[in-house]
Amino acid sequence: MLRAVSTPERRGFRARDLTAPWRHVDVILMVAVGLVLLLGLAMVYSATRRFPDGSGFVLRQGMFAVVGIAIMMGLSLVDYRRIADWWQAIYAGSVVLLLGVLTPLGATVNGTKGWYRFGFISLQPAEFAKLATILAVAAYLGSVDRVDLRRLGVARALLGVPMGITLLQPDLGSALVFIVIAMGMLVVAGVRLRHLAVLVLLGVVAVLGILNSGTLDQYQKDRLTSFVSPTGQSYNVDQAQKAIGSGGLTGYGFTQGPQTRGGYVPEQQTDFIFTVAGEELGFVGAGSLVLLLGVIVWRMWRAAQLASDELGTLLCVGILCMFLFHIFENVGMTLGIMPVTGIPLPFVSYGGSSLLVSFTAVGLVQSVHMHRFN
């Protein structure tokens, strides 16, 4: 695949240049992403097999994966600094898209007005907005030496605007992702602990305010409080834990999970996809999946560490935080240690937007990794 790339050809005589980007592809990251993707497709197949349009889900997911891989490869070859140059336009565009979803153009799923619908494809602009915001904050903070209060304020505004809009949808899960991304990026960017403490305090106040304002629907509050008071466990979590727990060490075998076969876990192909792995592949399979996701996060962390500039580091940290939160929240929710929110598991959950954004994100990390000697 690297032969198709034009840069080495053009540089002909410098073909042995050790700083050439294509020599620095993070193969481990690629392999981990590939394996998780394959596992994800298998789990989606198993979870949707019982539907009348059974194979349709895997086919659509595969189609998005092909597009996603293309985007990832393309992005990784472009220097992330060139992309960052466009951050204002990208950020503005994503905010507009995010706002647009609140207009009659948007479609409502499970009480959240967060989708654009094009025929059989639905897109969730919040997923793209997360990435656009990470890029914007990284570009903004990467261009300054010191994060003073004013700049902190600008960075917070950059994060706060899309977060506020997602809360209006209301999409609590995505809003939480913005908070985590903000924390991670600001910490690494070198914000003073004092300022951070204020930020945390503000966060807590904001969460309490959200809970007590009319923004949240009752079902969303219920989901959150079911986490706080374990006695009131909801049906979803109950069924999810039955599926995972009964899987045991080695599971019931692919497509053989009774909970999955019988459709006992709601939203299983999307938010609760991890239960399929837990039930059918057991601790061995589900553990491997978590391990592979861990490898992806580890390679992102490594890319952040190796990055040649602040922009690259922050970009990787932002993406890392997004992935980390998605994984911990999604898997944790099926295991009953996190509240139930509609956050997808990267590369595994059925859904085009999530898949495209995950590939785009890995593409950016790869770009940081590959272009670190430029």
Binding site: V188, G190, Q241, P258, G262
Partner: protein
């Protein structure tokens, strides 16, 4: 920006990430490694349903192995709603209409509304078949089977239901079977069906076994259960061990897979102590007698309504009930597909004589003179009468000592003076004066003999308490005492004139009147005990329970069964009957049928048994109604002969015991005593039976009564 600081902060982020992943692993291990079993169980209870499949109930046979209650196949048209749910609304309506028309044209009238209602019936589990027409002819099955595509979701099932080869015979003894109700289910440890509309349709089968050594026979809603009679009292034997089908269902309750299937095992056969030839004979004659009595008027002008009647025959040496006829009866086959409320009302209507009642043990009547042997025993025990002081001058009227006026006078029936009467003769001619006097003596000497010599003798002979026969619904009757009268009065002062006991009460109790009430079964048991020299056995209606050894052979195959339970005679008491007393009593009771002036001699001579019968007629008065006619006795009553039959005949509102009850008793026993009992008539040869009924009726009209009460 400080590179070192960035590295430190990145490390911190790395540690956070690492610990979060570690947390996920630990939690995953907790669920899958440690709590795995618990979740496996929970997951299984989620998706596995155990469906019990009822098997054929055991049969009910008579003492000689003739089958009274069998099973037969009923063809049932039912709906499998699973495929029907997938049809469009119009398609479904069209199918239902087509089905209703088709069934109606095939001779099974079916309404569209009925099908629709059954389809929507929430009481049935989603995967359960819903019956819409039961017991349909075979051509319907054929027709529907050939057109399966035209009727998706319509299934034709074969179900096992009860059949009665002898038709309307001993219906109150065998009882009937019906769908288990909530109360019965709960009593057997089951859970009532879920409220329609709730999602939880899991009904854990019950695990109650009432008899040790019998396999568990759990129930679930919709199962059948014995409602009355032997079907109920021997439910735990008759019920088949249900088959078990373990199925896996999805979240919507649809079937995914059959996991395990165990076939049901047929129930055990119950052999009655009843001889159905004798039973049929008794029922036939009882019905004929009641019909011939009805409509007449007594001398006092009361209409003889004879609303019911019963004949009980017990084998004195074992307590086994050989026949127990209760009129009116009913045809149990009308109940096999469930009881409509109209039918239920009709069967329980007092105007129709309440056919569901087993009057032989649910009816309680004043025994009248049939009670006299009890009073005689009390007299002998206290010494009020005995060798040397047993003769009384009977002038037809008895006056209480120290009492003046009409209320102090008690008289024999028709004021007949019997002259000089000893114990034997007091029974033969049924002298009331003889017993009035005893009643008065007992009360006068109550400080020496206690207040209740009569009641004590009655209690020893089994009166006033349930016999404990293995049939539900038995009543205890009543033996009045000063104590229980006072108690009743104190409980409900408005219902009684007084709570006190007077001499007069003792006087009428002595002749089995007043508040004395016995069931026909108790009366037969009383005379069986007298026949048996005072050894009292509990009446038994079942002789044994057997289990078929090889189910592939026909169930009637001789020797193809093992005995699960043999019912042995159950001695419940021994009453000391002194020889001097016993010989006098027996002599008097034989005189009733054999001596010239016995109260039943003429009747006996009209249809004599092969051997003499010792017995007693009874005519008890009920205020405002015609007299109740009674007879109780046993035979053979000869010195060295083992008594074979003790009998009681009770027909209320029918006239004199000697006129109505005694002739019936002799006519029932005569062919039995001569070994000429006609065989019971199977329902299949009804024409023959009708001739026999006609013959019995004709014979009844030729009965010779003794013409007097007593």
């Amino acid at each position: 920006m400080d590179t070192d600081s960035t590295q430190v902060r990145l490390s911190a982020l790395g540690i956070v990430a690492l610990s979060l992943f570690l947390a996920l692993f630990v939690r995953l291990w907790f669920l899958q490694g440690i709590d795995r079993q618990r979740f496996e169980v929970e997951s299984a209870s989620n998706r596995l349903r155990v469906i019990n499949e009822e098997g054929p109930r055991g049969r009910i046979l008579d003492r000689n192995g003739k089958v009274l209650v069998d099973n037969r196949t009923s063809i049932v048209v039912a709906l499998d709603r699973e495929p029907i749910r997938k049809l469009t609304e119009e398609r479904r309506q069209a199918e239902f209409a087509d089905l209703a028309d088709t069934l109606t044209s095939l001779g099974v009238p079916t309404k569209l509304g009925t099908i629709q209602k059954r389809y929507d019936d929430k009481r049935y589990a989603p995967q359960e078949y819903v019956p819409i027409a039961e017991d349909v002819p075979e051509n319907v099955e054929l027709f529907l089977a050939e057109r399966a595509e035209r009727f998706p979701g319509v299934v034709v099932e074969r179900r096992t239901i009860r059949s009665y080869p002898y038709g309307q015979l001993a219906p109150q003894i065998v009882g009937y079977v019906g769908e288990i109700n909530e109360e019965e289910l709960v009593a057997r440890g089951g859970t009532p069906p879920a409220v329609p509309g709730t999602t939880s349709s899991t009904v854990p089968p019950t695990t109650v076994t009432t008899v040790p050594g019998l396999p568990a026979k759990p129930y679930q809603p919709g199962d059948s259960i014995g409602k009355v009679g032997v079907e109920r009292s021997h439910e735990e034997y008759l019920r088949a061990v249900p088959g078990k089908r373990t199925i896996e269902v999805n979240a919507r309750g649809d079937l995914i897979d059959v996991i395990k299937n165990t076939d049901p095992v047929a129930g055990d056969d119950v052999w009655l102590s009843i001889d159905i030839d004798l039973q049929a004979h008794a029922e036939r004659l009882l019905e004929a007698k009641v019909r011939s009595v009805r409509g007449g008027l007594t001398k006092e002008g009361y209409r003889k309504n004879a609303p019911q009647g019963s004949v009980v025959i017990i084998e004195p040496t074992t307590g086994q009930v050989l026949a127990m006829a209760s009129y009116p009866g009913y045809d149990p086959s009308i109940l096999v597909n469930g009881i409509s409320s109209d039918l239920w009302t009709q069967l329980n209507d007092p105007a129709s004589g309440r056919p569901l009642f087993n009057w032989a043990l649910q009816g309680a009547y004043a025994p009248g003179s049939t009670f006299k042997p009890v009073t005689a025993l009390a007299g002998w025990r206290t010494g009020a009468i005995g060798p040397g002081n047993e003769v009384v001058a009977d002038g037809g009227v008895f006056k209480l000592q120290g009492c003046k006026g009409k209320a102090c006078e008690f008289q024999n029936a028709g004021r007949t003076a019997h002259g000089s009467v000893d114990l034997a003769r007091s029974l033969t001619v049924s002298s009331d004066v003889y017993y009035y006097r005893l009643g008065e003596m007992f009360w006068i000497n109550r400080t020496n003999w206690g207040e209740t010599p009569i009641q004590d003798a009655a209690r020893d002979l089994g009166l006033g308490s349930r016999t404990g026969i293995a049939l539900p619904g038995e009543t205890a009757g009543r033996i009045p005492t000063p104590a229980n009268r006072k108690e009743a009065y104190q409980k409900n002062p408005d219902a009684f004139v007084t709570g006190d006991w007077f001499t007069g009460d003792n006087v009428i109790t002595a002749i089995g009147q007043g508040d004395v009430l016995v069931t026909p079964l108790q009366l037969a048991e009383l005379y069986a005990t007298l026949a048996n020299d005072g050894v009292r056995y509990r009446p038994q209606v079942v002789s044994k329970v057997t289990r078929v050894i090889d189910p592939t052979l026909p169930p009637g195959e001789p020797g193809n069964f093992e005995v699960i339970k043999q019912v042995e005679p159950d001695e419940v008491g021994r009453v000391d009957l002194p020889p001097d007393f016993y010989s006098r009593m027996v002599k008097g009771l034989i005189g009733v049928t054999q001596q010239g002036d016995g109260t039943a001699t003429k009747s006996w001579r009209a249809s004599p048994t092969a051997w003499p019968i010792a017995g007693k007629t009874g005519t008890s008065q009920v205020v405002g109604k015609a007299d109740s006619a009674l007879f109780a006795g046993w035979g053979p009553a000869q010195p060295d002969a083992v008594p074979q039959y003790a009998i009681s005949v009770v027909i209320p509102e029918a006239g004199f015991g000697g006129d109505v009850a005694a002739p019936l008793a002799f006519r029932v026993l005569a062919p039995a005593s001569k070994g000429q009992l006609p065989a019971a008539c199977p329902a299949a040869s009804r024409a023959l039976c009708d001739r026999e009924v006609a013959a019995a009726e004709a014979a009844s009209s030729r009965d010779v009564g003794s013409g007097g009460p007593g």
